[in-house]
Subunit: 372 residues, 2 copies
Amino acid sequence: MTTIAIDAMGGDHGPRAILPGLEMLLGERSDLKFLLYGDRETVEAAIADLPRLKAASTIHHTEVAVAMDEKPSQALRSGRYKSSMWQAIESTKTRESDVAVSAGNTGALMAMATFCLRTMANIDRPAIGAIWPTVKGEAIVLDVGATIGADAVQLVDFAILGAAMARALFGKECPTVGLLNVGTEDIKGQEEVKEAGRILRERRMPTLNYRGFVEGTDIGQGVTDVVVSEGFAGNIALKTAEGTAKQLGGYLREAMQSSLMSRVGYLFARDAFRQLRERMDPARANGGVFLGLNGLVVKSHGGADAQAFSAAVSLAVDLAKGDLQHRIRDDLDKFHADRIPAPVSDEDTDSDAADGFVRGDSAKTGQSGQKE
Amino acid sequence: MTTIAIDAMGGDHGPRAILPGLEMLLGERSDLKFLLYGDRETVEAAIADLPRLKAASTIHHTEVAVAMDEKPSQALRSGRYKSSMWQAIESTKTRESDVAVSAGNTGALMAMATFCLRTMANIDRPAIGAIWPTVKGEAIVLDVGATIGADAVQLVDFAILGAAMARALFGKECPTVGLLNVGTEDIKGQEEVKEAGRILRERRMPTLNYRGFVEGTDIGQGVTDVVVSEGFAGNIALKTAEGTAKQLGGYLREAMQSSLMSRVGYLFARDAFRQLRERMDPARANGGVFLGLNGLVVKSHGGADAQAFSAAVSLAVDLAKGDLQHRIRDDLDKFHADRIPAPVSDEDTDSDAADGFVRGDSAKTGQSGQKE
């Protein structure tokens, strides 16, 4: 049985998209239990005609819903402890749930998750891993926007996090890993990337197969199972690919409507176009995975409809069943065993990620900064 | 009359692709004169059955051809002064030509161009500008890989360079400019990008209309005429878009061949698919423009066929006719008029770009580092 905590108030469409998404998933997968965090009245109204979900859920009333446009620091002030987002995250810490899913605002979710769960021992910064459809299947690209910039050791940590995610999802015991760069020769690129390449080459970790630098063109060709980047370039790569897919999809629609002949052709090839649409559909790969925290959190696109939200939750279930967190902990322990541990302080454990997430905030709570 | 210097030995296919590309262009455009730099025997053999080109060209024999896999520092040592690449570049400095075009290796071309032409007064670093097809037409994205990293003032310089290129090519007197970032809110992103945004907002330059931050998804939607980034993220964005287009083109081909019905549909819609292929064709937008140097150099894809090379030369002609260099000089002078000029030294004028381009090399030549 997998227990999934749901921030029922997150996303552009709220419970009206989220709950039907869960109902859909229950039609496909069994052994799921949901903890729904949100305004009881709203959730009960939306769940009334979803019999499968009603039977598989417990509703936990929360007073506060984080707005989609709230700044992370503001969301932390108003929603810490009492928002649906916070409580869904916290349930993974208390082991009431195996994984939390939210379609709420990314900055607020990352700030709350980092604050509530803390980074794992030996991890400076969390990363967001995305599933990237390739011509060979799927790849994992990280970091797609948790933080900006990364030093060499942080990039190596990202490689370990991404490889553990690939093992949990793709069932490959030693996934291939590439570092995103502007050329494939060893002499090219950012210093941090070159240094990370040197460490990965020399350490020869048993849980990943380092294949060198990869370029933007290589991601979609599935050259490696995992592509590692700091969050600025990773985010720009992801969004550029989304934009290009949207642009070309538009060209295709225009072309098919451009003449009587093309419209007739479209009718003949309708099934092929349906398959094509499915392969190009970003909802298939919905879900950013927060990696490196002491709890598993998956972020759905804010604009996700029921189908897309269901895909994000399905991913969350796969990760929980694949025992992602234990794999990561084991791999990190092995890699960092011979490094001198960094001193632990409250500041170290905060994400310096997110837009406006105020580092100093942590001091006000009186929480200890002990890592697990 | 526009005079174009051609590195006839560059690219994967050499004169056999380059010269037929020029012949094609002469079928479409008049008032062109070519200076062909390369091995005389090879060029004369390849030009024998190209009558229009023969009539419009002068062949300049060169002893050395830069290899596609040569490191920039190595190319400078072996090819300085005497290679086809160097001499094509140098002809723009001596005003024998208006613009130089090469399909040779990017790192070597950037190193030679920077070394031979030097950066313009007030410009620290050159940038490579690319034409990006959008749903509204075309945009200019820079830097797509001349250097890695950029400070705020360098990003502002890139904005000025890109806007001048947009004015020369698109005929818009005040093109819109966006800074590539991971979010559109002012609080997000790299410090350099935020600071560049502040300068652009406050200075309100008459030659560009600054529109704030743009994301990867916005580039192909044509949200702004010019998109500015440092070269690492810009290169990754460009190559990711190319990779995504290739991937989706492959999906489309597979879908159209997946059944008898889809193949029939394809036959009906053949014309529409031809149009689509043309819109998706990367050769349409072939040509990286080196900006910020005292001479105009255009880089064609190394793998370009005749058609694609012809597109790069056509772009070069448009830029020369659009008087790009004077526009840039005027705009830079206006912007930098109230800034204290930086001290000029040999080191400052080298590109710290390129893969292995050895800064120290410049000292060995005894050339002065005076900017124009």
